[in-house]
C-alpha cells in the first residue's frame, strides 16, 4: 500500500455545489500538497462537510472540479478514506467492521487479523474488539471509525469532526493518533470546531463562510494575523453563522 505512486496534490478549481437551485458552495479553489494537514474551519452550515464529501468524490459538483494531480491519480479513490461526522457502523463486531474495510481494499485474509488488531489497539479499543459496533458509545464509535479509516493506510484521510463527541482524554488520544498518522506521511483534510485543536494539528487553514472560501493560509498566519474580517471575528469567537 505504501509503495503506490502518490495521488496528491489535490486540486480544487471553481468548485460549486447546489441543491434545488440553492447554492451551498461556490467558487472554491485551492491546491493541497502531499503530506500536509489542512484544517477546514468555519461556523455551522458553512459547507465544511459538503467540501470534504466533494473532495472525497461522494458528491458530484454542480460546477468546477476536484482533481488529483499525482502519478497515481487514476486510482485516487482507492487511496483515500473518510471518517464521517456521524459514524456509520456496520451491524457486526468492532473488529469485523475493520476487517470489512480491509477486505474491500483487497487485503488477503491472513493479513487482515493482525492489521485489525493493530488498528483497534491504536484506537484503544482492543478490549471491545468482539462487541457489536452499534452498541458502542458515541465516542467509541468515533474512534472505531477512525481506526477503520486508518487501517487501510490511505494516502489521504478526510476527517469530519473526528473528536466532536470525545471526552478530553480521548480527544488527546485521538489527536496523538492523528499526529502519528500524519507523521507516517498521510495527507489529512479535517474539520473541527475546536480552535485549540486546529492550532495543534494544522499546517494550513481553509476557512469557509456561507459556502465561500474566505481564506486559505498557513496555520500560523491564520491565527496570528487573519486577513479577512470574517476570519478575525471567527478566531475571536465572535462570528455567527
Amino acid at each position: 500500500m505504501a509503495t503506490f505512486p502518490p495521488i496528491t496534490p489535490l486540486s480544487v478549481e471553481g468548485l460549486a455545489f447546489a441543491v434545488d437551485g440553492k447554492q451551498l458552495l461556490s467558487e472554491i479553489s485551492f491546491t493541497l500538497e502531499a503530506h500536509r494537514t489542512a484544517l477546514v474551519l468555519g461556523p455551522n452550515g458553512a459547507g465544511k462537510s459538503l467540501l470534504l464529501r466533494l473532495c472525497h468524490g461522494l458528491l458530484q459538483p454542480t460546477a468546477g472540479r476536484v482533481s488529483w494531480q499525482g502519478a497515481g491519480a487514476d486510482q485516487a479513490s482507492a487511496h483515500q478514506a473518510m471518517v464521517f461526522q456521524r459514524p456509520v457502523m456496520l451491524r457486526r463486531s468492532a473488529a469485523a467492521n475493520i476487517d470489512y474495510a480491509l477486505s474491500l481494499r483487497g487485503v488477503p485474509a491472513r493479513q487482515r487479523s493482525s492489521l485489525t488488531a493493530e488498528a483497534l489497539e491504536r484506537a484503544g479499543l482492543s478490549a471491545l474488539a468482539k462487541r457489536p459496533a452499534r452498541v458502542l458509545s458515541g465516542g467509541e464509535q468515533q474512534r472505531l471509525a477512525l481506526a477503520r479509516a486508518w487501517s487501510v493506510r490511505p494516502q489521504v484521510l478526510f476527517l469530519d469532526e473526528p473528536t466532536a463527541s470525545l471526552d478530553p482524554a480521548a480527544t488527546r488520544a485521538v489527536e496523538e493518533l492523528i499526529g502519528r498518522i500524519r507523521a507516517d506521511g498521510t495527507t489529512i483534510v479535517m474539520t473541527t470546531h475546536d480552535l485549540g485543536q486546529a492550532r495543534r494539528l494544522a499546517d494550513e487553514i481553509i476557512f469557509l463562510h456561507r459556502g465561500r472560501l474566505v481564506e486559505k493560509t498557513a496555520a500560523a498566519d491564520f491565527f496570528s494575523n487573519p486577513q479577512s474580517q470574517e476570519a478575525r471575528a471567527f478566531v475571536a469567537g465572535e462570528l455567527l453563522w
Partner: protein, 237 residues
C-alpha cells in the same frame, strides 16, 4: 356440541398417535411450503435488493407492481399457474399439473413478491444509512448488495418467515394446481376444506390445530429474532 368434543378428542389422538395419513399430509405441506419459500427467497432477496439500489427507468412502477403483487389472491395465482401448466399451456409439456411441483410453483409465485417487497424496504432504509460509507470504503455494487443483505439479516429472516406464514396458510392456489389428490397433493389446508365439506371433522380439526401451532411457532421465532437483533445490534437491523 357432542359432535365437536368427540371430533376434538379424535383430533388430539390423531396428533398424539402420529396418525399416518395426518403425518403424510403435514410433511407434504411442509415440503411444499418450505421449498416454495426457499425459491421465493433465492429470487426475492436479490430482486428486492436490486430494486432498492439501482435507479432505472420504470423503477417506481416496478415497486408499485411488486407491492401490489403482495396482495395477490391465491385463487388468481392458482388460475394463472394452472393455465401455464395445463396440457395446452406453454409449460404443459413438463407434465407438472396436479403434482407437488405445481404447488411449489404456485406458492413461490405467491410468496416471491412478499419477500421482494419487504426486502426492498429493508435494504432501501439500510442503503440510505450506508451508501456514502460503503462507497467511501470502495464497495462495488455487487459487494454492497451482499453487505446490505447480511446487515439486514434479522429483518430479512422475518420477511421470509412472513412469506412462509402466507404459503402454509393459503388454500386456493394449491387446490387449483394440486387438485387435492389423496396421497399425492393433499396438504393441510386443502384437506381441511375437503373433510369439512364431507362432514369428517376430526382430521380437519387435527390439521387445524397443527396449522395454528405452526403459525404460533413462526411468529414466536420472528419475535425471538427481533429480540436478538435488539440485544446484539443496539437497534433493529
Amino acid at each position: 356440541m357432542n359432535d365437536f368434543s368427540d371430533a376434538f378428542a379424535t383430533a388430539l389422538s390423531l396428533i398424539l398417535n402420529l396418525d399416518q395419513d395426518l403425518a403424510e399430509i403435514v410433511l407434504l405441506s411442509l415440503r411444499v411450503s418450505l421449498t416454495a419459500v426457499l425459491v421465493a427467497a433465492v429470487i426475492g432477496l436479490p430482486l428486492g435488493a436490486a430494486l432498492a439500489l439501482f435507479r432505472f427507468p420504470g423503477r417506481s412502477a416496478a415497486i408499485v407492481i411488486v407491492n401490489a403483487l403482495m396482495g395477490l389472491p391465491p385463487v388468481v395465482v392458482g388460475l394463472v399457474v394452472y393455465l401455464l401448466l395445463s396440457r395446452s399451456g406453454p409449460l404443459g409439456p413438463l407434465g407438472l399439473l396436479f403434482s407437488p411441483a405445481a404447488m411449489i410453483i404456485a406458492q413461490a409465485v405467491l410468496v416471491t413478491p412478499i419477500v421482494a417487497a419487504l426486502t426492498r424496504q429493508v435494504v432501501e432504509d439500510l442503503w440510505a444509512e450506508y451508501e456514502e460509507q460503503l462507497r467511501s470504503l470502495g464497495a462495488t455494487p455487487a459487494r454492497a448488495i451482499g453487505t446490505l443483505l447480511w446487515d439486514g439479516r434479522f429483518s430479512l429472516v422475518t420477511a421470509v418467515l412472513a412469506g412462509f406464514g402466507r404459503a402454509s396458510a393459503e388454500v386456493g392456489a394449491v387446490m387449483i394446481v394440486g387438485g387435492n389428490i389423496a396421497h399425492v397433493t393433499r396438504v393441510m389446508t386443502t384437506t381441511i376444506a375437503l373433510e369439512v365439506s364431507k362432514g369428517d371433522l376430526a382430521l380437519a380439526l387435527g390439521l387445524g390445530i397443527i396449522l395454528i401451532a405452526l403459525s404460533l411457532a413462526v411468529n414466536g421465532a420472528a419475535s425471538l429474532i427481533r429480540e436478538t437483533a435488539r440485544r446484539y445490534q443496539g437497534a433493529l437491523a
